[in-house]
Amino acid sequence: MRFVLRRLGFFVVTLWAAITLNFFIPRLMPGNPAEAMMARYHGRINPQALHALEIAFGVKAHQSLISEYFDYLGNVFRGRFGISLTFFPDPVMHDVLQALPWTLVLVGVTTVLAFFLGTLIGLVGAWRRGGLMDSAMPPIFVITSAFPYFWIAGIAIWLFSLKLGWLPHGGGYDPIDTPAWTWHFAHDAFVHSILPALTILVTAIGGWILTMRNNTISVLTEDYIRMARAKGLSPQRIMWTYAGRNAILPNLTGFAMSLGFVVAGAILVEYVFNYPGVGYMFLSSVTNEDYALMQGLFLLIVVAVLTAILAADVATAFLDPRTRDVR
């Protein structure tokens, strides 16, 4: 419990750091883009939109930086990120919440799937040490992990949708459909998610395989594995409960660390597929200079990553009795 509380504290500190960065980056960069932006839009857009920018940047006339900063913090905690210029006059929060489910399902499911599949393949491969799978794995996945996600995405679209015509080439659903809780729409959304999901899976899985393989190999040198062999346990039992249970622990920490990488890849995959998720919206907001929306989405991404890390911490506490004990 102490462990989880400590990690919760870390969550808050990191979130605070991200919000603070979000506030200071536009103001402290060369030329103070926040001020410049406000000046540029002044008189050109309506007062409501201008107010949105004020909230997004925390810029207010005749206020000190410190009080602007605390105003900004207050707004963020009340979920007030201003108003989107792209989807005017929607509040940013509204648009963000609309994009979120798409990403949660696509990126969430594929990331978890890649983690479990990769961990499994890495474990089994390392277990059959020196076998075909074990010797072929490292070079293959070292190379597949080096391919950019967006490039794989482009090739996948070209091959499977344009050349072969098996799957739709982009979007989250058929434009003639409207989102609704029907079987028809669910099927449509599923079909649209196959290619982006496979893209993320193929590029993300290599890292998990390699790290799990290396963890397993070092766990296999532990005395408790030899002890398990001495006890005459079945190879399956040793592989799962003695090697696997222990080798996955550092991989869970690794999960937290590599998540940023997967998120980066997923943003680009959504972009290439025009997928109506957070990543696509994030990049569109950059192109449209919709800074209120961009900042809101950035914070959302940070929260999502931190939540996943917290989940990995809870899983670690669950799987590793040593972390559970109060130190």
């Binding site: 500190v13 990191t14 991200a18 979000n22 040490r129 020196g130 010797s135 070292v142 190379i143 080096a146 391919f147 950019p148 967006f150 490039w151 482009g154 090739i155 679209i157 070209w158 390699l210 290396n214 190999i217 070092s218 296999l220 532990e222 005395d223 408790y224 030899r226 002890m227 398990a228 062999r229 001495a230 006890k231 005459g232 346990l233 079945s234 039992r237 409960t241 003695y242 222990n246 622990l249 937290a256 940023g260 980066a264 680009l268 290439v272 994030f282 990049l283 950059v286 192109t287 200079e289 961009m294 900042q295 989405l297 950035f298 991404i301 940070v302 990553v305 890390i309 040593r322 004990d325």
Partner: protein, 654 residues
């Protein structure tokens, strides 16, 4: 499981190891060894070749590319041809030339980010680990926060305000945010180095911190520093390409990412110019893979377990006599264990090293045999060879001889039948229970595992038996539901002994089971082991480097030296009249508890390197009684009054 402990006969035809046997141990990580190791790795060689290739392209693109990358002088959208290997763009530029010119920026970004991130990681990681205290606390927190901040979205935010991310922005942002993973590892490495002797001694000598860090710490972390550099370089290659691809790079710069951006905005794949989009992606991947392969090679060098070494039997010192057919099953008073000619070799990068050399021994029912010797003499290897437990981390293999246990040759026994013998008839107690007990299972679960593997007991029966054996070693059965880390060192060791007694086996093999305990706990555990042995009647092979420990407990003593039996006799006999000069030296090295105070003599020197053992008597270089005949020929075991001893001085007595 046991590919590593395969029997003696079925692998005789192993072909010699491949042409490039990988690398010597570089655990020390000292520069020169490391480079020699890298130069022998195939993965590293491919990585270096790729980097050199791209390096040449980056330095002299003008000499290699046939055309200017920007000149719009050709018909647009040409397919690949002799003049234009990859075709032309919609603006009539030569794609092949663009690709070559694009190398420079991608490589520069990778190297610059790698350098910035590595310098920061070393600064932060080493200071945190070296200074410790509040500084460490603060730096570690900062490191962890930056580690989990998603860098890519952040750099997009920055690039959005700046309109595009030029070379400098990319390098600064990726370098400033990309150091945290390396810093974390360097910190823990520094922490573990701090406790090592050579640093202590440097500090005692009064060296300045800067000197200690530069001359003592950094050289040992070469491989970790390289890994940090390579890791951030890979990240930089991919991230920069991503940024350029979405148009946040400088659209007029020559880079692979920018090519992909233009290819995408012109629908190159659809418009019949697929190579425009494919080739830059392949280049990004190849550059990333070059760094990744090098990184992987360094990984393999710093953790030797990642490499598979095959035992090269063709290079064993001499041919082993083929094993005779096993004798018919045991008679009435047969020994519980008979080891014949047992030979174990380790695979290394050079010739195999024979760590146990033709060892013979017999163990009577209920007998207590102690094996002593300095570390590196093959005691533990012999022990684990008998139990057929060789394999990682000791990648040894039995290359000859037999282990007859209950009438069966364990060396030839197939894995499935071997499993049936294990624990029921032959159990093992290991040196450190902290490492030998599975940290994520309770004591009860680990007992249950053993019971389920060998019995049809119900859950309740297993529980009853587990409590019973815990009481045997005087542990309160409430600790059944404890995890190993919740028990004290002595309790863990007892719990492991309890586990070994679940089925009251005929033979319990013990590898220094008391060495992790303090002297008082050692004695009480020894007394308990002896009591249990007398009460339950199992035989014991007990390995220790502390002769005095077993004086009053063992029936016979086997002194091992350099993989061979030096002396084997009754314990009392050996303590009274040690015949081998090595036994005499070992005895002199330990003070007698009751006798008069004597000077500790010890034995000068250390055991020989088994890769290249001295000819003749292996102890000769350290022996106070050495004579010319000692080194003339191999010394056989002489039988003297019921003792066996490998010393020419006993030739006449035998």
């Amino acid at each position: 499981m046991s590919a590593s402990s395969v029997g003696a006969t079925d692998q005789l035809a192993t072909p010699p190891a491949g042409p490039a046997p990988m690398v010597a141990d570089a655990r020390q990580g000292r520069g020169r060894d490391l480079w020699r190791a890298v130069s022998r790795s195939k993965k590293a060689a491919v990585g270096v070749l790729l980097l050199l290739f791209f390096g040449v392209l980056a330095v002299i693109p003008g000499q290699i590319a046939p055309y200017s990358p920007t000149a719009k002088i050709f018909p647009p959208g040409l397919p690949p041809s002799r003049q234009h290997w990859l075709g032309t763009t919609t603006l009539g530029q030569d794609i092949y030339s663009q690709l070559i010119w694009g190398t420079r920026l991608s490589l520069l970004i990778a190297l610059a980010v790698g350098a910035v991130a590595t310098i920061l990681a070393v600064l932060v990681g080493v200071s945190a680990g070296y200074l410790g205290g509040a500084t460490d606390g603060f730096l570690s927190l900062v490191t962890d926060v930056i580690l989990v901040l998603p860098i890519f979205p952040l750099i997009i935010v920055i690039a959005a305000y700046e309109k595009n991310a030029g070379f400098l922005t990319v390098v600064v942002v990726l370098g400033v945010l990309g150091w945290s993973y390396g810093a974390r590892q360097l910190r823990s490495q520094t922490l573990s180095l701090r406790r090592r002797d050579f640093l202590e001694s440097a500090r005692v000598r009064g060296e300045r911190s800067s000197y200690v860090i530069l001359h003592e710490i950094l050289p040992t972390m070469t491989s970790l520093i390289m890994a940090t550099f390579l890791g951030s370089a890979i990240y930089a290659v991919l991230t920069a390409a991503g940024l350029q691809f979405i148009g946040l790079g400088d659209p007029n710069s020559q880079s692979w990412g920018t090519m992909l951006y233009w290819a995408q905005s012109n629908d190159a794949l659809l418009a019949g110019m697929p190579l425009w989009a494919i080739a830059p992606g392949v280049c990004v991947a190849l550059l990333g893979a070059a760094f990744a392969l090098l990184n992987y090679a360094f990984d393999e060098i710093s953790s030797p377990a990642l490499r598979v070494r095959k035992l090269d039997r063709a290079r064993l010192p001499k041919a082993e006599p083929s094993p005779e057919p096993a004798k018919p099953a045991a008679e009435e008073h047969a020994p519980v264990l008979r080891v014949e000619n047992l030979t174990v070799a380790y695979a290394t990068d050079r010739a195999p090293v024979v760590a146990v050399d033709h060892v013979d021994l017999e163990l009577a029912r209920g007998e207590f045999l102690a094996i002593v010797g300095e570390s590196g003499c093959g005691k533990s290897t012999l022990l684990y060879a008998i139990a057929r437990l060789l394999g990682a981390p000791m990648a040894g293999e039995i290359v000859g001889g037999r282990v007859i246990f209950q009438g069966q040759d364990l060396v030839l026994l197939e894995e499935k039948r071997l499993r049936a013998v294990r624990w029921r008839n032959l159990s093992v107690v290991m040196q450190s229970a902290m490492n030998a007990l599975n940290p994520v299972l309770t004591v009860a679960e680990q007992m249950r595992d053993a019971c389920r593997a060998h019995s049809t007991w119900s859950k309740a029966e297993i529980d009853v038996r587990s409590r019973e054996v815990l009481r045997l070693v005087s542990i309160d059965p409430v600790h059944l539901h404890s995890y190993p880390h919740q028990l004290s060192g002595g309790m863990r060791q007892r719990a492991m002994i309890a586990m070994a007694l679940l089925f009251t086996p005929d033979l319990v093999i013990m590898d220094e089971p008391t060495s992790a305990l303090d002297v008082v706990a050692q004695r009480s555990l020894m007394v308990q082991i002896k009591e249990l042995q007398e009460q339950l009647g199992f035989a014991v092979i007990f390995v220790t480097h502390d002769m005095s420990l077993v004086r009053h407990f063992s029936d016979r003593l086997l002194v091992m030296y350099a993989g061979q039996v030096a002396e084997l006799s009754k314990t009392s006999e050996l303590f009274d009249r040690p015949l081998h000069p090595y036994s005499q030296g070992l005895l002199a090295a330990f003070p007698s508890l009751h006798g008069p105070k004597e000077r500790l003599l010890g034995i000068p020197g250390s055991p020989p390197n088994l890769a290249n053992p001295p000819g003749g008597c292996r102890f000769a270089p350290r022996c106070p009684h050495v004579e010319p005949r000692c080194t003339a020929a191999e010394v056989p075991l002489y039988s003297v009054n019921g003792s066996l001893v490998r010393c020419v001085l006993q030739e006449d007595a035998s």
